[in-house]
Protein backbone atom coordinates (compact mmCIF):
# COMPACT_ATOMS: atom_id res chain seq x y z
CA UNK A 1 0.00 0.00 0.00
CA UNK A 2 1.32 3.43 -0.95
CA UNK A 3 1.00 6.49 1.14
CA UNK A 4 -1.61 7.95 -1.10
CA UNK A 5 -3.87 4.93 -0.81
CA UNK A 6 -3.50 4.78 2.96
CA UNK A 7 -4.06 8.44 3.29
CA UNK A 8 -7.23 8.32 1.26
CA UNK A 9 -8.47 5.32 3.25
CA UNK A 10 -7.88 7.09 6.51
CA UNK A 11 -9.47 10.22 5.21
CA UNK A 12 -12.48 8.23 4.13
CA UNK A 13 -12.62 6.53 7.52
CA UNK A 14 -12.66 9.93 9.15
CA UNK A 15 -16.05 10.19 7.48
CA UNK A 16 -16.77 13.81 7.83
CA UNK A 17 -13.75 14.76 5.75
CA UNK A 18 -15.69 13.71 2.68
CA UNK A 19 -14.45 12.88 -0.77
CA UNK A 20 -13.11 16.32 -1.42
CA UNK A 21 -10.62 16.14 1.42
CA UNK A 22 -9.64 12.59 0.51
CA UNK A 23 -9.01 13.67 -3.01
CA UNK A 24 -6.91 16.62 -2.00
CA UNK A 25 -4.87 14.64 0.48
CA UNK A 26 -4.25 11.70 -1.83
CA UNK A 27 -3.20 14.00 -4.62
CA UNK A 28 -0.75 15.87 -2.47
CA UNK A 29 0.66 12.74 -0.92
CA UNK A 30 1.48 11.34 -4.32
CA UNK A 31 4.46 13.75 -4.25
CA UNK A 32 7.80 12.50 -3.00
CA UNK A 33 8.44 14.89 -0.11
CA UNK A 34 6.74 13.43 2.93
CA UNK A 35 7.09 16.58 5.00
CA UNK A 36 5.56 18.61 2.25
CA UNK A 37 2.81 16.08 1.98
CA UNK A 38 1.91 16.40 5.67
CA UNK A 39 2.04 20.16 5.58
CA UNK A 40 0.06 20.14 2.38
CA UNK A 41 -2.57 17.81 3.78
CA UNK A 42 -3.06 20.03 6.75
CA UNK A 43 -3.15 23.17 4.64
CA UNK A 44 -5.56 21.50 2.24
CA UNK A 45 -7.76 20.33 5.08
CA UNK A 46 -7.80 23.85 6.42
CA UNK A 47 -8.92 25.13 3.01
CA UNK A 48 -11.62 22.49 2.88
CA UNK A 49 -12.67 23.33 6.42
CA UNK A 50 -13.14 26.92 5.30
CA UNK A 51 -15.04 25.82 2.23
CA UNK A 52 -17.31 23.26 3.87
CA UNK A 53 -18.36 25.20 6.93
CA UNK A 54 -20.95 22.78 8.36
CA UNK A 55 -18.39 20.01 8.40
CA UNK A 56 -15.52 22.19 9.69
CA UNK A 57 -15.24 20.69 13.15
CA UNK A 58 -15.42 17.07 12.08
CA UNK A 59 -12.94 17.78 9.35
CA UNK A 60 -10.44 19.21 11.81
CA UNK A 61 -10.74 16.13 13.97
CA UNK A 62 -10.22 13.95 10.91
CA UNK A 63 -7.06 15.78 10.01
CA UNK A 64 -5.72 15.44 13.51
CA UNK A 65 -6.28 11.72 13.50
CA UNK A 66 -4.71 11.49 10.10
CA UNK A 67 -1.64 13.29 11.30
CA UNK A 68 -1.41 11.04 14.37
CA UNK A 69 -1.49 7.97 12.18
CA UNK A 70 1.16 9.38 9.91
CA UNK A 71 3.43 10.02 12.84
CA UNK A 72 2.78 6.54 14.19
CA UNK A 73 3.68 5.02 10.90
CA UNK A 74 6.78 7.12 10.59
CA UNK A 75 8.94 3.98 10.82
CA UNK A 76 7.55 2.68 7.58
CA UNK A 77 7.64 6.08 6.04
CA UNK A 78 11.32 6.36 6.98
CA UNK A 79 12.06 3.39 4.77
CA UNK A 80 10.87 5.33 1.79
CA UNK A 81 12.76 8.47 2.71
CA UNK A 82 15.81 9.31 0.65
CA UNK A 83 18.98 8.55 2.61
CA UNK A 84 20.26 12.12 2.70
CA UNK A 85 17.13 13.22 4.51
CA UNK A 86 17.21 10.42 7.09
CA UNK A 87 19.26 12.23 9.84
CA UNK A 88 16.96 15.21 9.62
CA UNK A 89 13.86 13.08 9.84
CA UNK A 90 15.34 11.12 12.77
CA UNK A 91 16.22 14.31 14.62
CA UNK A 92 12.78 15.67 13.96
CA UNK A 93 11.18 12.47 15.16
CA UNK A 94 13.29 12.46 18.33
CA UNK A 95 12.47 16.07 19.02
CA UNK A 96 8.83 15.37 18.48
CA UNK A 97 8.93 12.44 20.92
CA UNK A 98 10.63 14.53 23.56
CA UNK A 99 8.10 17.23 23.01
CA UNK A 100 5.24 14.78 23.37
CA UNK A 101 6.70 13.32 26.59
CA UNK A 102 7.36 16.76 28.00
CA UNK A 103 3.90 17.87 27.06
CA UNK A 104 2.23 14.92 28.77
CA UNK A 105 4.36 15.43 31.91
CA UNK A 106 3.39 19.10 31.90
CA UNK A 107 -0.26 18.20 31.49
CA UNK A 108 -0.04 15.80 34.42
CA UNK A 109 1.66 18.47 36.48
CA UNK A 110 -1.01 21.00 35.60
CA UNK A 111 -3.70 18.53 36.62
CA UNK A 112 -1.89 17.89 39.88
CA UNK A 113 -1.52 21.58 40.57
CA UNK A 114 -5.15 22.17 39.76
CA UNK A 115 -6.17 19.50 42.25
CA UNK A 116 -3.86 20.95 44.87
CA UNK A 117 -5.18 24.44 44.22
CA UNK A 118 -8.74 23.22 44.64
CA UNK A 119 -7.84 21.42 47.87
CA UNK A 120 -6.03 24.48 49.18
CA UNK A 121 -8.91 26.71 48.20
CA UNK A 122 -11.36 24.43 49.97
CA UNK A 123 -9.09 24.43 53.04
CA UNK A 124 -8.89 28.19 53.02
CA UNK A 125 -12.63 28.54 52.63
CA UNK A 126 -13.10 26.20 55.56
CA UNK A 127 -10.59 28.11 57.64
CA UNK A 128 -12.34 31.34 56.72
CA UNK A 129 -15.69 29.87 57.68
CA UNK A 130 -14.26 28.65 60.99
CA UNK A 131 -12.63 32.02 61.67
CA UNK A 132 -15.80 33.90 60.82
CA UNK A 133 -17.91 31.69 63.04
CA UNK A 134 -15.77 32.74 66.00
CA UNK A 135 -17.41 35.67 67.74
CA UNK A 136 -14.09 36.85 69.14
CA UNK A 137 -12.02 39.11 66.94
CA UNK A 138 -9.09 37.17 65.45
CA UNK A 139 -6.20 38.95 63.76
CA UNK A 140 -3.01 37.40 62.36
CA UNK A 141 0.10 39.45 61.60
CA UNK A 142 3.37 38.35 60.03
CA UNK A 143 7.01 38.95 60.95
CA UNK A 144 6.77 42.45 59.45
CA UNK A 145 3.68 43.27 61.51
CA UNK A 146 1.49 43.19 58.41
CA UNK A 147 -2.03 41.81 58.62
CA UNK A 148 -2.13 38.44 56.88
CA UNK A 149 -5.60 37.41 57.90
CA UNK A 150 -8.43 38.54 60.09
CA UNK A 151 -11.98 37.44 60.67
CA UNK A 152 -15.12 39.47 60.11
CA UNK A 153 -15.46 40.18 63.84
CA UNK A 154 -12.00 41.78 63.88
CA UNK A 155 -12.81 43.89 60.83
CA UNK A 156 -16.02 45.12 62.44
CA UNK A 157 -14.51 45.72 65.86
CA UNK A 158 -11.37 47.46 64.70
CA UNK A 159 -13.09 49.24 61.82
CA UNK A 160 -11.19 48.12 58.74
CA UNK A 161 -12.22 46.64 55.42
CA UNK A 162 -10.92 43.17 55.01
CA UNK A 163 -9.48 42.91 51.55
CA UNK A 164 -7.99 46.41 51.83
CA UNK A 165 -6.25 45.69 55.12
CA UNK A 166 -4.43 42.54 54.03
CA UNK A 167 -0.64 42.90 53.71
CA UNK A 168 -0.78 46.38 55.24
CA UNK A 169 1.22 47.26 58.37
CA UNK A 170 -1.01 46.77 61.39
CA UNK A 171 -0.17 50.26 62.64
CA UNK A 172 -1.57 51.81 59.46
CA UNK A 173 -4.81 49.82 59.66
CA UNK A 174 -5.65 49.92 63.37
CA UNK A 175 -5.97 53.32 65.01
CA UNK A 176 -5.83 51.91 68.56
CA UNK A 177 -2.16 52.61 69.38
CA UNK A 178 -2.13 50.62 72.62
CA UNK A 179 -3.43 47.51 70.88
CA UNK A 180 -0.89 47.92 68.06
CA UNK A 181 1.88 48.15 70.67
CA UNK A 182 0.67 44.92 72.28
CA UNK A 183 0.71 43.15 68.91
CA UNK A 184 4.13 44.37 67.77
CA UNK A 185 5.70 43.74 71.17
CA UNK A 186 4.22 40.24 71.37
CA UNK A 187 6.31 39.02 68.42
CA UNK A 188 9.57 39.61 70.26
CA UNK A 189 8.62 39.24 73.91
CA UNK A 190 6.54 36.08 74.09
CA UNK A 191 8.36 32.75 73.92
CA UNK A 192 7.19 30.21 71.35
CA UNK A 193 4.37 28.09 72.72
CA UNK A 194 3.52 30.73 75.31
CA UNK A 195 0.70 33.17 75.29
CA UNK A 196 0.05 36.50 76.92
CA UNK A 197 -3.28 37.77 78.19
CA UNK A 198 -3.86 41.45 78.73
CA UNK A 199 -6.93 43.49 79.55
CA UNK A 200 -7.74 46.15 77.04
CA UNK A 201 -10.52 48.71 76.82
CA UNK A 202 -11.82 50.24 73.65
CA UNK A 203 -13.37 53.65 74.00
CA UNK A 204 -16.48 54.53 72.05
CA UNK A 205 -15.69 55.83 68.58
CA UNK A 206 -17.52 58.06 66.15
CA UNK A 207 -20.01 56.03 64.11
CA UNK A 208 -18.40 55.03 60.82
CA UNK A 209 -19.90 55.84 57.46
CA UNK A 210 -21.87 52.75 56.39
CA UNK A 211 -19.71 52.46 53.26
CA UNK A 212 -16.58 51.92 55.36
CA UNK A 213 -18.23 49.49 57.74
CA UNK A 214 -19.56 47.19 55.04
CA UNK A 215 -17.19 44.43 53.95
CA UNK A 216 -15.95 45.08 50.43
CA UNK A 217 -15.63 42.60 47.56
CA UNK A 218 -13.68 39.54 48.60
CA UNK A 219 -10.47 38.46 46.97
CA UNK A 220 -10.74 34.78 46.20
CA UNK A 221 -8.59 33.46 49.00
CA UNK A 222 -8.87 36.01 51.76
CA UNK A 223 -10.75 35.43 54.94
CA UNK A 224 -13.93 37.27 55.68
CA UNK A 225 -17.22 37.34 53.86
CA UNK A 226 -20.21 39.60 53.60
CA UNK A 227 -22.66 36.93 54.68
CA UNK A 228 -21.00 36.18 58.03
CA UNK A 229 -23.15 35.65 61.09
CA UNK A 230 -23.23 38.85 63.11
CA UNK A 231 -20.42 38.84 65.62
CA UNK A 232 -20.72 39.89 69.23
CA UNK A 233 -18.17 42.60 68.72
CA UNK A 234 -18.85 45.65 66.67
CA UNK A 235 -17.20 49.04 66.71
CA UNK A 236 -17.98 50.32 70.21
CA UNK A 237 -20.50 53.14 70.20
CA UNK A 238 -21.55 55.01 73.26
CA UNK A 239 -19.91 52.85 75.91
CA UNK A 240 -16.43 51.63 76.71
CA UNK A 241 -16.06 47.95 76.00
CA UNK A 242 -13.65 45.68 77.80
CA UNK A 243 -11.63 42.97 76.12
CA UNK A 244 -9.44 40.13 77.20
CA UNK A 245 -6.68 40.10 74.60
CA UNK A 246 -4.76 36.87 74.00
CA UNK A 247 -1.51 37.19 72.07
CA UNK A 248 0.48 34.18 70.88
CA UNK A 249 3.49 33.96 68.55
CA UNK A 250 3.10 31.78 65.46
CA UNK A 251 5.89 29.26 64.87
CA UNK A 252 8.12 30.03 61.87
CA UNK A 253 10.85 28.23 59.90
CA UNK A 254 13.55 29.71 62.15
CA UNK A 255 13.70 30.31 65.86
CA UNK A 256 12.05 33.70 65.35
CA UNK A 257 8.29 33.69 65.33
CA UNK A 258 6.66 34.06 61.93
CA UNK A 259 3.99 36.32 63.30
CA UNK A 260 1.41 36.83 65.99
CA UNK A 261 -2.17 35.74 66.40
CA UNK A 262 -4.25 38.21 68.40
CA UNK A 263 -7.66 37.34 69.83
CA UNK A 264 -9.92 39.94 71.41
CA UNK A 265 -12.72 38.57 73.56
CA UNK A 266 -15.43 41.00 74.62
CA UNK A 267 -15.82 40.62 78.39
CA UNK A 268 -17.97 43.73 78.89
CA UNK A 269 -21.10 41.73 79.67
CA UNK A 270 -19.22 39.38 82.03
CA UNK A 271 -17.91 42.39 83.89
CA UNK A 272 -21.42 43.80 84.14
CA UNK A 273 -22.74 40.53 85.54
CA UNK A 274 -19.97 40.32 88.08
CA UNK A 275 -20.64 43.93 89.05
CA UNK A 276 -24.36 43.14 89.43
CA UNK A 277 -23.51 40.18 91.64
CA UNK A 278 -21.29 42.23 93.89
CA UNK A 279 -23.88 45.03 94.00
CA UNK A 280 -26.46 42.42 94.98
CA UNK A 281 -24.30 41.14 97.82
CA UNK A 282 -23.57 44.59 99.17
CA UNK A 283 -27.23 45.57 98.79
CA UNK A 284 -28.35 42.46 100.68
CA UNK A 285 -25.81 43.01 103.42
CA UNK A 286 -26.92 46.62 103.75
CA UNK A 287 -30.57 45.66 103.88
CA UNK A 288 -29.87 43.02 106.53
CA UNK A 289 -27.54 45.14 108.62
CA UNK A 290 -29.88 48.09 108.93
CA UNK A 291 -32.53 46.37 111.08
CA UNK A 292 -29.85 44.34 112.82
CA UNK A 293 -28.08 47.56 113.67
CA UNK A 294 -31.23 48.95 115.29
CA UNK A 295 -31.84 45.78 117.26
CA UNK A 296 -28.26 45.76 118.57
CA UNK A 297 -28.34 49.42 119.48
CA UNK A 298 -31.68 49.28 121.33
CA UNK A 299 -30.74 46.15 123.24
CA UNK A 300 -27.49 47.76 124.32
CA UNK A 301 -29.35 50.89 125.40
CA UNK A 302 -31.67 48.77 127.55
CA UNK A 303 -28.68 46.92 129.04
CA UNK A 304 -26.95 50.22 129.81
CA UNK A 305 -30.07 51.62 131.45
CA UNK A 306 -30.33 54.46 128.98
CA UNK A 307 -34.11 54.09 128.79
CA UNK A 308 -35.03 56.06 131.86
CA UNK A 309 -38.71 55.24 132.28
CA UNK A 310 -41.19 52.48 131.58
CA UNK A 311 -42.67 54.17 128.50
CA UNK A 312 -39.21 54.55 126.87
CA UNK A 313 -38.50 50.93 127.64
CA UNK A 314 -41.83 49.91 126.06
CA UNK A 315 -40.94 51.99 123.02
CA UNK A 316 -37.54 50.26 122.80
CA UNK A 317 -39.14 46.80 123.01
CA UNK A 318 -41.53 47.76 120.21
CA UNK A 319 -38.66 48.98 118.03
CA UNK A 320 -36.74 45.75 118.61
CA UNK A 321 -39.79 43.62 117.80
CA UNK A 322 -40.57 45.67 114.69
CA UNK A 323 -37.01 45.52 113.38
CA UNK A 324 -36.78 41.78 114.08
CA UNK A 325 -40.00 41.30 112.09
CA UNK A 326 -38.59 43.42 109.29
CA UNK A 327 -35.45 41.29 109.25
CA UNK A 328 -37.58 38.14 109.15
CA UNK A 329 -39.72 39.41 106.26
CA UNK A 330 -36.62 40.42 104.37
CA UNK A 331 -35.05 37.01 104.76
CA UNK A 332 -38.34 35.28 103.83
CA UNK A 333 -38.71 37.40 100.72
CA UNK A 334 -35.15 36.77 99.66
CA UNK A 335 -35.37 33.06 100.28
CA UNK A 336 -38.69 32.82 98.46
CA UNK A 337 -37.31 34.68 95.47
CA UNK A 338 -34.17 32.53 95.42
CA UNK A 339 -36.19 29.34 95.71
CA UNK A 340 -38.51 30.34 92.89
CA UNK A 341 -35.56 31.47 90.76
CA UNK A 342 -33.81 28.17 91.41
CA UNK A 343 -37.05 26.26 90.73
CA UNK A 344 -37.05 24.59 94.16
CA UNK A 345 -40.27 25.91 95.64
CA UNK A 346 -43.09 23.73 96.85
CA UNK A 347 -46.59 24.91 96.11
CA UNK A 348 -49.84 23.61 97.45
CA UNK A 349 -52.29 23.89 94.63
CA UNK A 350 -55.92 24.03 95.73
CA UNK A 351 -59.13 25.58 94.45
CA UNK A 352 -58.64 29.12 95.78
CA UNK A 353 -61.53 31.54 96.36
CA UNK A 354 -59.92 34.82 95.26
CA UNK A 355 -62.63 37.02 96.77
CA UNK A 356 -62.02 35.48 100.18
CA UNK A 357 -58.27 36.00 99.86
CA UNK A 358 -58.77 39.61 98.73
CA UNK A 359 -61.00 40.27 101.78
CA UNK A 360 -58.36 38.77 104.04
CA UNK A 361 -55.62 40.99 102.54
CA UNK A 362 -57.81 44.08 102.89
CA UNK A 363 -58.65 43.28 106.52
CA UNK A 364 -54.98 42.71 107.31
CA UNK A 365 -53.90 46.04 105.83
CA UNK A 366 -56.82 48.06 107.25
CA UNK A 367 -54.86 49.33 110.32
CA UNK A 368 -52.03 50.76 108.16
CA UNK A 369 -54.57 52.38 105.84
CA UNK A 370 -56.42 53.86 108.84
CA UNK A 371 -53.19 55.52 110.06
CA UNK A 372 -53.17 57.58 106.87
CA UNK A 373 -56.99 57.92 106.70
CA UNK A 374 -56.91 55.98 103.43
CA UNK A 375 -60.15 54.24 102.53
CA UNK A 376 -59.20 50.69 101.62
CA UNK A 377 -62.06 48.99 99.83
CA UNK A 378 -62.78 45.60 98.48
CA UNK A 379 -65.00 45.72 95.43
CA UNK A 380 -66.26 42.44 94.02
CA UNK A 381 -69.65 41.20 92.98
CA UNK A 382 -71.52 38.31 94.60
CA UNK A 383 -69.92 35.83 92.19
CA UNK A 384 -67.28 33.38 93.27
CA UNK A 385 -63.98 33.53 91.42
CA UNK A 386 -61.77 30.52 91.81
CA UNK A 387 -58.64 29.15 90.24
CA UNK A 388 -56.12 26.43 90.96
CA UNK A 389 -53.39 28.17 92.95
CA UNK A 390 -51.29 28.25 96.12
CA UNK A 391 -53.43 30.20 98.59
CA UNK A 392 -50.57 31.50 100.77
CA UNK A 393 -48.66 32.72 97.77
CA UNK A 394 -51.71 34.48 96.33
CA UNK A 395 -52.29 36.16 99.71
CA UNK A 396 -48.64 37.26 99.76
CA UNK A 397 -49.03 38.82 96.29
CA UNK A 398 -52.16 40.72 97.34
CA UNK A 399 -50.58 41.87 100.61
CA UNK A 400 -47.51 43.17 98.77
CA UNK A 401 -49.63 45.07 96.25
CA UNK A 402 -52.02 46.53 98.85
CA UNK A 403 -49.14 47.43 101.18
CA UNK A 404 -47.38 49.27 98.32
CA UNK A 405 -50.60 51.08 97.41
CA UNK A 406 -51.07 52.26 101.02
CA UNK A 407 -47.40 53.26 101.29
CA UNK A 408 -47.41 55.43 98.18
CA UNK A 409 -50.85 56.99 98.55
CA UNK A 410 -51.06 60.29 100.42
CA UNK A 411 -53.32 60.79 103.43
CA UNK A 412 -57.03 60.69 102.70
CA UNK A 413 -56.59 58.71 99.47
CA UNK A 414 -58.35 55.59 98.27
CA UNK A 415 -57.15 52.04 97.54
CA UNK A 416 -59.51 49.62 95.79
CA UNK A 417 -59.08 45.87 95.40
CA UNK A 418 -61.21 44.17 92.76
CA UNK A 419 -61.56 40.57 91.62
CA UNK A 420 -63.06 39.61 88.28
CA UNK A 421 -62.85 36.98 85.56
CA UNK A 422 -60.80 37.55 82.46
CA UNK A 423 -62.49 35.18 80.04
CA UNK A 424 -60.11 35.94 77.21
CA UNK A 425 -57.16 34.46 79.05
CA UNK A 426 -59.32 32.03 81.06
CA UNK A 427 -57.97 33.56 84.26
CA UNK A 428 -59.02 35.28 87.45
CA UNK A 429 -57.86 38.89 87.43
CA UNK A 430 -57.11 40.84 90.62
CA UNK A 431 -56.40 44.56 90.51
CA UNK A 432 -55.24 47.01 93.15
CA UNK A 433 -55.89 50.65 92.21
CA UNK A 434 -54.78 53.67 94.23
CA UNK A 435 -55.01 57.45 94.11
CA UNK A 436 -51.31 57.71 94.96
CA UNK A 437 -48.17 59.27 93.55
CA UNK A 438 -48.14 57.30 90.32
CA UNK A 439 -45.05 55.90 88.64
CA UNK A 440 -42.85 57.81 86.20
CA UNK A 441 -42.95 56.13 82.76
CA UNK A 442 -39.18 55.55 82.73
CA UNK A 443 -39.40 53.59 85.99
CA UNK A 444 -42.11 51.18 84.81
CA UNK A 445 -39.86 48.79 82.82
CA UNK A 446 -37.60 48.31 85.86
CA UNK A 447 -40.33 48.22 88.50
CA UNK A 448 -40.34 44.45 88.97
CA UNK A 449 -36.53 44.13 89.13
CA UNK A 450 -34.96 42.86 92.30
CA UNK A 451 -33.95 45.74 94.62
CA UNK A 452 -35.17 48.37 92.17
CA UNK A 453 -36.63 51.39 93.91
CA UNK A 454 -37.71 54.67 92.41
CA UNK A 455 -35.04 57.09 93.59
CA UNK A 456 -37.35 59.96 94.51
CA UNK A 457 -39.79 57.69 96.34
CA UNK A 458 -37.25 56.28 98.77
CA UNK A 459 -38.08 59.11 101.09
CA UNK A 460 -41.80 58.49 100.86
CA UNK A 461 -41.64 54.99 102.26
CA UNK A 462 -39.23 52.31 103.34
CA UNK A 463 -38.75 49.24 101.28
CA UNK A 464 -36.26 46.71 100.07
CA UNK A 465 -37.17 46.59 96.41
CA UNK A 466 -38.05 42.92 96.79
CA UNK A 467 -41.86 43.05 97.11
CA UNK A 468 -42.76 43.51 93.44
CA UNK A 469 -40.03 41.12 92.36
CA UNK A 470 -41.60 38.45 94.54
CA UNK A 471 -45.05 39.30 93.12
CA UNK A 472 -43.74 38.78 89.59
CA UNK A 473 -42.09 35.50 90.52
CA UNK A 474 -45.16 34.10 92.28
CA UNK A 475 -47.54 35.12 89.49
CA UNK A 476 -45.46 34.39 86.43
CA UNK A 477 -42.97 31.71 87.42
CA UNK A 478 -45.07 29.71 89.86
CA UNK A 479 -48.60 30.21 88.48
CA UNK A 480 -47.93 30.97 84.80
CA UNK A 481 -50.05 34.08 85.14
CA UNK A 482 -49.34 37.64 84.13
CA UNK A 483 -48.63 40.80 86.07
CA UNK A 484 -48.72 44.41 84.94
CA UNK A 485 -49.28 48.03 85.86
CA UNK A 486 -50.78 51.15 84.39
CA UNK A 487 -49.99 54.44 86.05
CA UNK A 488 -50.08 58.17 85.70
CA UNK A 489 -47.86 60.42 87.80
CA UNK A 490 -49.98 62.39 90.26
CA UNK A 491 -53.11 60.39 89.47
CA UNK A 492 -52.38 56.93 90.84
CA UNK A 493 -51.51 53.42 89.75
CA UNK A 494 -53.36 50.21 88.99
CA UNK A 495 -51.47 46.95 89.49
CA UNK A 496 -53.11 43.78 88.20
CA UNK A 497 -52.34 40.10 87.95
CA UNK A 498 -54.05 37.09 86.44
CA UNK A 499 -54.00 33.46 87.55
CA UNK A 500 -55.26 30.87 85.02
CA UNK A 501 -58.36 28.84 86.05
CA UNK A 502 -56.56 25.61 85.22
CA UNK A 503 -52.83 25.12 85.72
CA UNK A 504 -52.47 23.67 82.21
CA UNK A 505 -54.40 26.43 80.47
CA UNK A 506 -51.44 28.76 80.16
CA UNK A 507 -48.69 26.20 80.32
CA UNK A 508 -50.08 24.59 77.16
CA UNK A 509 -50.55 27.91 75.38
Amino acid sequence: MGIGTRASMIAAAAGAAGGLAALAVSRLFAGDAQAQAIAGAVAGAACVAGAVAPFGLSLQRGVHRLRARLIAERGEAAALTPSWLKPVVAALAEAEERLAAESSRAAARVRDLEIRARVTEADLRQTAAVMNTIRDAVLVTNAYDEITSANAAAARLLGFRLPDALRKPVASVIADAALVRHITAARTTIAAGDRLQVDHSIEPSEPQPPEAAAPGPEPRLSIGAADDPPAASSPPRGETRHFEVTLAPLPGMTADPAGVVTILRDITREREISQMKSDFVSQVSHELRTPLSSINAYVEMLVDGEAKDESSRAEFYAVIKGEADRLGRLIDNMLNISRIEAGIFSMERTEVDFVAVAKQAVDFMQPQAALKRISLLHKSGPLVYTAQADRDMVLQVMLNLVSNAVKYTPEGGRVTVAVENDDASRSVMVSVADTGLGIPPDAIPRLFEKFYRIENYKRVAKGTGLGLNLVKHIVETVHRGQVGVTSKVGMGSRFWFTIPFEPAARAAA
Binding site: R289, I295, N296, A297, E300, R459
Partner: protein, 142 residues
Protein backbone atom coordinates in the same frame (compact mmCIF):
# COMPACT_ATOMS: atom_id res chain seq x y z
CA UNK B 1 -13.68 59.34 130.96
CA UNK B 2 -13.22 61.84 133.73
CA UNK B 3 -15.48 64.49 135.20
CA UNK B 4 -13.60 67.07 133.11
CA UNK B 5 -14.86 65.52 129.86
CA UNK B 6 -18.43 65.54 131.09
CA UNK B 7 -18.26 69.21 131.85
CA UNK B 8 -16.90 69.84 128.36
CA UNK B 9 -20.03 68.18 126.91
CA UNK B 10 -22.42 70.71 128.27
CA UNK B 11 -22.33 73.15 125.45
CA UNK B 12 -21.28 70.82 122.63
CA UNK B 13 -23.66 70.37 119.73
CA UNK B 14 -23.69 67.28 117.55
CA UNK B 15 -25.60 66.91 114.30
CA UNK B 16 -26.82 63.38 113.54
CA UNK B 17 -27.95 62.55 109.99
CA UNK B 18 -29.58 59.21 109.17
CA UNK B 19 -32.61 58.21 107.08
CA UNK B 20 -33.37 55.34 109.47
CA UNK B 21 -35.59 56.93 112.11
CA UNK B 22 -34.75 54.26 114.71
CA UNK B 23 -31.01 54.79 114.35
CA UNK B 24 -31.45 58.56 114.48
CA UNK B 25 -33.48 58.20 117.62
CA UNK B 26 -31.14 55.82 119.45
CA UNK B 27 -27.95 57.74 118.64
CA UNK B 28 -29.57 61.03 119.62
CA UNK B 29 -30.78 59.58 122.91
CA UNK B 30 -27.36 58.14 123.76
CA UNK B 31 -25.69 61.51 123.11
CA UNK B 32 -28.38 63.52 124.93
CA UNK B 33 -28.08 61.21 127.93
CA UNK B 34 -24.34 61.96 127.88
CA UNK B 35 -25.06 65.70 127.98
CA UNK B 36 -24.71 66.80 124.36
CA UNK B 37 -27.00 69.08 122.43
CA UNK B 38 -28.28 67.06 119.47
CA UNK B 39 -29.60 68.22 116.10
CA UNK B 40 -31.05 65.71 113.65
CA UNK B 41 -31.57 65.42 109.90
CA UNK B 42 -33.12 62.64 107.78
CA UNK B 43 -30.97 63.10 104.65
CA UNK B 44 -27.78 64.76 103.42
CA UNK B 45 -29.46 67.82 101.99
CA UNK B 46 -31.34 68.59 105.19
CA UNK B 47 -28.19 67.91 107.22
CA UNK B 48 -26.19 70.41 105.19
CA UNK B 49 -28.88 73.07 105.66
CA UNK B 50 -28.90 72.47 109.43
CA UNK B 51 -25.08 72.52 109.58
CA UNK B 52 -25.00 75.87 107.78
CA UNK B 53 -27.72 77.39 109.96
CA UNK B 54 -26.33 76.09 113.28
CA UNK B 55 -22.74 74.91 112.85
CA UNK B 56 -22.32 71.93 115.19
CA UNK B 57 -19.08 70.83 116.89
CA UNK B 58 -19.27 67.43 115.27
CA UNK B 59 -21.31 65.60 112.67
CA UNK B 60 -22.37 61.94 112.71
CA UNK B 61 -23.66 60.84 109.33
CA UNK B 62 -24.95 57.70 107.69
CA UNK B 63 -23.45 56.84 104.29
CA UNK B 64 -26.50 55.81 102.30
CA UNK B 65 -29.15 58.48 102.48
CA UNK B 66 -31.59 59.79 99.88
CA UNK B 67 -30.97 63.02 97.95
CA UNK B 68 -27.38 63.37 99.16
CA UNK B 69 -25.14 60.61 100.51
CA UNK B 70 -23.05 60.98 103.65
CA UNK B 71 -19.93 61.29 101.50
CA UNK B 72 -21.35 64.13 99.42
CA UNK B 73 -22.58 65.83 102.56
CA UNK B 74 -19.15 65.54 104.20
CA UNK B 75 -17.46 66.84 101.06
CA UNK B 76 -19.77 69.87 100.99
CA UNK B 77 -19.09 70.55 104.68
CA UNK B 78 -15.38 70.56 103.93
CA UNK B 79 -15.72 72.74 100.84
CA UNK B 80 -17.84 75.35 102.60
CA UNK B 81 -15.54 77.73 104.61
CA UNK B 82 -17.89 78.31 107.59
CA UNK B 83 -18.26 74.53 108.12
CA UNK B 84 -14.86 73.37 106.81
CA UNK B 85 -13.46 72.75 110.30
CA UNK B 86 -16.29 70.48 111.51
CA UNK B 87 -15.12 66.87 111.92
CA UNK B 88 -17.45 64.06 110.89
CA UNK B 89 -17.96 60.46 111.96
CA UNK B 90 -19.35 58.18 109.23
CA UNK B 91 -21.67 55.31 110.13
CA UNK B 92 -21.87 52.77 107.36
CA UNK B 93 -22.80 49.23 106.49
CA UNK B 94 -20.11 49.37 103.85
CA UNK B 95 -17.16 50.52 105.92
CA UNK B 96 -14.78 48.07 104.32
CA UNK B 97 -15.59 49.11 100.78
CA UNK B 98 -14.55 52.71 101.40
CA UNK B 99 -11.05 53.65 100.32
CA UNK B 100 -8.96 56.39 101.88
CA UNK B 101 -9.17 58.14 98.52
CA UNK B 102 -12.97 58.31 98.85
CA UNK B 103 -12.64 59.96 102.24
CA UNK B 104 -10.04 62.50 101.15
CA UNK B 105 -11.37 66.05 100.81
CA UNK B 106 -14.29 65.31 103.08
CA UNK B 107 -14.90 66.18 106.70
CA UNK B 108 -14.81 62.49 107.65
CA UNK B 109 -12.21 61.68 110.31
CA UNK B 110 -13.56 58.37 111.62
CA UNK B 111 -15.68 55.51 110.28
CA UNK B 112 -17.85 53.07 112.26
CA UNK B 113 -19.40 50.00 110.62
CA UNK B 114 -22.99 48.89 111.15
CA UNK B 115 -24.17 47.12 113.17
CA UNK B 116 -22.67 49.64 115.54
CA UNK B 117 -22.97 50.05 119.27
CA UNK B 118 -24.18 53.34 120.81
CA UNK B 119 -21.38 52.97 123.39
CA UNK B 120 -18.82 52.86 120.59
CA UNK B 121 -20.36 55.91 118.98
CA UNK B 122 -20.20 57.85 122.24
CA UNK B 123 -16.59 56.77 122.86
CA UNK B 124 -15.57 57.86 119.35
CA UNK B 125 -17.35 61.19 119.75
CA UNK B 126 -15.59 61.87 123.04
CA UNK B 127 -12.23 60.92 121.56
CA UNK B 128 -12.81 63.12 118.53
CA UNK B 129 -13.90 66.14 120.55
CA UNK B 130 -11.56 65.69 123.49
CA UNK B 131 -8.48 64.32 121.73
CA UNK B 132 -7.69 67.19 119.39
CA UNK B 133 -9.56 70.29 120.43
CA UNK B 134 -9.61 72.98 117.80
CA UNK B 135 -8.72 76.56 118.70
CA UNK B 136 -12.37 77.57 118.96
CA UNK B 137 -13.31 74.33 120.70
CA UNK B 138 -10.53 74.96 123.22
CA UNK B 139 -11.93 78.43 123.83
CA UNK B 140 -15.34 76.87 124.47
CA UNK B 141 -13.86 74.43 126.94
CA UNK B 142 -11.96 77.15 128.80
Amino acid sequence: MSEATTTVHRNRTILVADDEAHILHVVSLKLRNAGYEVLTAADGEEAFEVACATPPDLVITDLQMPFMTGLEFAARLRANPPTAHIPALLLTARGHALSQAALANTAIREVLSKPFSPREVLAKVEAMLGGAPRADAGADAA
